[in-house]
């Protein structure tokens, strides 16, 4: 089935640095979403970008979408220790009414 694949699987950075995570997918989509999961908790929606959008911002988050390459990136600027979490992309198919498909996630560690 269509699935977003995040890259890298794990990322470790110092506080204050920027963190970039990538997501690639296989088929045409209507939108792509990014979620965050703190250890042992449920996922929290961060941002949604539609297929006709190229870039979207929310606070320290910046998401880009390149539909020609079937890829998206999530940039967290000026990272904080509290940003330590796993980040997942989720895609929907542009046809049919199938649920979102989540990738396996990138585990981000921000070291103070």
């Amino acid at each position: 089935s269509q699935q977003g694949e995040e890259d890298p699987q794990a990322l470790s950075i110092q506080e204050g640095e920027n963190a970039t995570m990538n997501c690639s997918y296989k088929t045409s989509i209507n939108n792509l979403q990014w979620y965050r999961q703190n250890s042992g908790r449920g996922l929290v929606h961060l941002i949604l970008i539609r297929s006709n959008e190229r870039e979207k911002h929310s606070g320290r988050l910046r998401v880009t979408l390149d539909t020609s390459k079937k890829s998206s990136s999530l940039l967290i600027t000026a990272s904080r220790a509290a940003d330590t979490a796993s980040y997942f992309c989720a895609t929907d198919a542009s046809t049919g009414n199938t649920p979102l498909v989540f990738g396996k996630g990138t585990r981000l560690s921000v070291i103070a």
Binding site: N97, P99, G103
Partner: protein, 114 residues
Amino acid sequence: DVKVTQSSRYLVKRTGEKVFLECVQDMDHENMFWYRQDPGLGLRLIYFSYDVKMKEKGDIPEGYSVSREKKERFSLILESASTNQTSMYLCASSPGTGARETQYFGPGTRLLVL
């Protein structure tokens, strides 16, 4: 704020037991979902429901069943628990008539089957 609650945060059961995981959402969402999450495998969809009394199989329905008698409640049932069902179970809901909208997740239930 949307709130999705799950009946237990941690649960320990024995092999062969019937297990009920309950999920309740308070935002009148049409769609509800059950996932399991295992290290290295990400989130895998077990079952979902677009409406009351409706259910659809996800990617890994074997060994599970669901019930949605009321719009706000979606139950996951393990008919006869097995050790390979030890996992983190996540419930989610979303608004709208389709299943593509933003999902709101509960805190998860960590199930251990001995």
